[in-house]
Amino acid sequence: MFDFIQNHILTLIIFIPVIGGLIILFLPERHNLIRWSSLIITLIPFTLSIMLYAGFDRSVSGFSYPGGLQFVERYSWIQAFNIELFLGVDGLSMPMALLCTMLCPLCVLASWGIDKGIKGYFFLFLLLETGMIGVFCALDFFLFFISWEVMLLPMYFLIGVWGGPDREYAAIKFYIYTLIGSLMMLLVIIYMYLSATPHTFDMTRLAQLGAGMEFKTLCWIVLFIGFAIKVPVFPFHTWLPDAHVEAPTAISVILAGVLLKMGTYGMLRVNYMMFPDVTFKMSMFIAVLGMINIIYGAFCAMAQKDLKRLVAYSSISHMGYVLLGMASLTEEGLNGAVLQMFNHGVVAAMLFLLVGVIYDRAHHRRIDGFGGIASVAPNYAVISFLAFFAALGLPGLNSFISEALVLLGAFQKYRIITAVSATGVIITAAYCLWTIQRIFLGKLNEKYAVFPDINAREFISLLPLGILVIVLGIYPHPILALMKPTVRFINNLITGSGI
């Protein structure tokens, strides 16, 4: 039994959610039963991914099998096209898989209040989880694409049916944007498949594809745009505020915590690992985009009146650090970028959960509509302070380390861009503190004289994140050690190809 789990651990992590979701469809329509079973179903992959974490060999690196990839499983799927169920993790996907499986049970907790179409909700949610983990673990390009696309359907309904007042618009906008990106990706994937001899979707083999530089550059740009829509990178970001604001709390958490990382993960996995020479030429371009994201996102966040929209724009700003770190092509920068992906997943999830808590009580999210909440809901206030301080990069909390690493790495290459980006830290601090002041401090708004403090369920969903924020702020080694060899490998690959 144990051996079976050990040998098929990735398959289990990926497919348990969707199988559980199908079972849920056939359970009797009792709300608590469905909630608890979803919670249990999402806890299984989490437990398995802890096993994955424990068994992960932190010393190997490389993008090949046998080689750097671990827990590899390989089964033939469609023989006619050489499509395989080819799964594996390395230092890049391991933290992401961990983040994703960790957030899902917390999101189930945050979805406790859903009562309309509850079966459908949890089925779609679990389907979404399968897609997300699939993207991080797929090493077959076709499987990668299928997982990437499979998320569209649940996401459309989760935003569109269970979302806020403007949900119809947000859902279709999200769908169209993402579909544009993924169809562009599909064309490149097909092209790469056809250029390889023999035809293959195996990503490790496609990485060695020899082709003309012009062709590669074109592929690189198209793929980059496809991923950039998901991140989202500046001109393609407009779907994000709508989708985040209208989505129900748990889905905002997934969007900010996992889906955005998929964009940068895709860039690192595909653009960086498969086209290192083009990446070397394009790094400046990525750095500029990262800088725009940081500054633009931060200024937009500052201008928002709606708390959830503010958090959404802050995500754009924080993803800018990931881009900047990636563009630096130094070990510090890349480590910082991947760590920032993990850290932002934790912090953004926390912020969205906190917004959900306040919205459940006040039924609005206008920042100006509150005041002095700290005096009536002290526990809630403390956790919110922690989250906002983490977001603004207070030393001792997790984001500080990743942002510092990013700036440290980037400064070695782009002095001016990094200097400009660093001002983003100040703007971020400004809007975070200003928000804290307007909501939690000052005179108590009489309307909220009776404001129930955070309850046990909400507290439990926030607690693990809060602990991570503090622990990783002091001792980031558990996550950094996972990614270090892989990051070094990527860095050598790219700087080596540029010479």
Binding site: V150, L152, V161, I172, Y175, I176, L179, L186, I190, L194
Partner: protein
């Protein structure tokens, strides 16, 4: 092969012809029994099932083709597979008519209805295997005439008569032009037989006149598959005709039309060279023509569908768009292109029939085909949720989202158009843009059913005992749409029979 020898290869069609005559005589003798629409439908289904079994058992001579009746008909993988597809769609038409309240109420002469469907099937079977210009033209006309009659086969609404009239007029004009094209082709080559024409073109240079005749002939074929600019009949006919027949019209005759297009262009005007590379034979660059028509067809279909309020019209325009996607593969001039057309048609068979079945079920409830009546369907009761989820599966498949079969179909089409020997990049980009446009109107139906919280007043009845056939058909089609989206090797292996279609 001589006529007498040919008869045993003609068993399915022969059986169907005998069955039609028997059906007619029996129907006249026992008018009362046959005037029950359930009886006629079941009898017709039984006949088609036997035909299907015969077709499955018969020796197609694969991988070698068998030419029967002195070159009139050709039995090969193409005719075999498309015949199966056409017979299956006729069977579904019977089952749909049987389970639809619309047809059982408004059919005054079910015997004649069944008879026409059977004749229509015979027409399609002959059409997909014909390898002679005359035979092709006659079976095309046979198919069209029965289709005109079936379109107007209800006195319930005036739209049906109008649609039938329009269909007839357009069809008459199209086939007239086509006949002119055929006569030109005959004039150039002096042969009606496909292989004879092929031989003549390989040896002689025929100049611009070949191109002209090809365009004229394509008018008739394009009319059958509703390609732009020969599509104008399509929305009116789809809206006016009985919904089961509309569903059939969007799949069966369209499949037959594609079979003719493939046979005509790939058997006469194509040479298979070294390493399975296909090249155009003759002076006419037909792949370019098909590529342009394909781009226009899909773009027009999708743009026109954006503003439709009636679900049947919307699906009509969407079927125009899908014809455009399939033409793309037909224009690819690769073997995979032929395979892809069949693969896509099989997938399209599942999802389009499924979508129309939901439309039938809903219009039986509300007596309406307006999209606004679908509002909040998913939240009305368990039947509403069932219908809406089924519709969602078919619509997502039509959009081309994994894990549904429609995505795999589009994957094949894009793969065939990007084949290294003859890639048409611009068409792939046009197709991708079109898929994005199509998302918008399909999602609008989804939005109406699932997202809007307002509910129209009309109540929905629960599951009915008499309708279980309908529900299980729907679930079956949906199930296969999902299965082929996840594991499509069986369908791939069947489609790959077409690999050796060109020698």
């Amino acid at each position: 092969m001589g006529n007498l020898e040919s008869i045993r290869y003609f068993a399915p069609e022969g059986f169907l012809s005998v069955f039609i005559i028997t059906f007619l005589i029996a129907g006249l003798l026992r008018r009362k029994t046959f005037s029950k629409s359930s009886f006629s439908c079941i009898a017709g289904t039984a006949g088609l099932f036997l035909t299907l079994i015969l077709e499955l058992c018969i020796n197609t001579g694969y991988p070698d083709a068998i030419v029967i009746f002195s070159g009139m008909l050709k039995l090969d993988a193409l005719s075999h597979l498309f015949k199966i597809l056409c017979i299956s769609s006729s069977i579904l038409l019977f089952l749909f008519s049987y389970s639809s309240r619309e047809t059982s109420d408004s059919l005054k002469e079910p015997m004649e209805y069944a008879l026409l469907i059977l004749s229509c099937t015979l027409g399609m079977m002959l059409l997909v295997s014909s390898s002679n210009l005359l035979m092709m033209y006659l079976s095309l006309e046979f198919l069209s005439l029965t289709a005109y009659m079936l379109t107007g086969f209800t006195d319930k609404n005036e739209k049906a008569s109008e649609a039938a009239m329009k269909y007839l007029l357009y069809g008459g004009a199209a086939s007239g032009i086509m006949a002119y094209g055929l006569s030109l082709l005959y004039g150039i080559t002096g042969s009606l037989d496909y292989s004879g024409i092929h031989r003549f073109i390989a040896e002689n240079n025929s100049g611009i006149i070949l191109y002209i005749s090809m365009i004229f002939i394509f008018t008739g074929l394009g009319f059958k598959i509703a390609a732009f600019p020969f599509h104008a009949w399509c929305p009116d006919v789809y809206e006016g005709a009985l919904t089961p027949f509309t569903a059939f019209l969007s799949v069966g005759p369209k499949a037959a039309g594609f079979a003719v297009i493939i046979r005509f262009f790939y058997q006469i005007f194509t040479v298979r060279g070294e390493g399975d590379v296909l090249t155009v034979l003759g002076s006419a660059d037909w792949p370019a023509m098909l590529a342009i028509i394909s781009a226009l067809t899909m773009t027009f279909g999708n743009l026109a569908a954006l503003r439709q309020k009636n679900i049947k019209r919307l699906l009509a325009y969407s079927s125009i768009a899908h014809a455009g996607y399939m033409l793309m593969a037909a224009a690819s001039l690769t073997i995979l292109g032929i395979v892809s057309v069949f693969f896509y048609l099989s997938v399209y068979f599942l999802m389009n029939f499924g979508a129309f079945l939901v439309v039938i079920a809903v219009s039986n409830e509300f007596n309406s085909d307006e999209i606004e009546d679908y509002e909040g369907l998913a939240w009305k009761n368990s039947k509403g949720a069932f219908l809406a989820s089924m519709f969602a599966v078919f619509l997502f498949s039509l959009i081309g989202t994994p894990p549904f079969a429609g995505f795999i179909g589009k994957f094949y089409l894009l793969l065939s158009i990007l084949q290294p020997e003859n890639p048409i990049y611009w068409l792939a980009v046009v197709a991708v843009i079109n898929i994005i446009i199509s998302l918008y109107y399909y999602a609008r139906i989804l939005k109406t059913m699932f997202l809007s919280r307002r509910q129209k007043g009309t109540a929905l009845s629960g599951f009915e005992r008499g309708q279980y056939l309908q529900y299980s058909l729907m679930a079956g089609l949906a199930l296969f749409s999902i299965i082929f989206g996840i594991y499509w090797s069986p369908l791939n292996n069947i489609s790959m029979l077409l690999e050796n279609f060109i020698h």
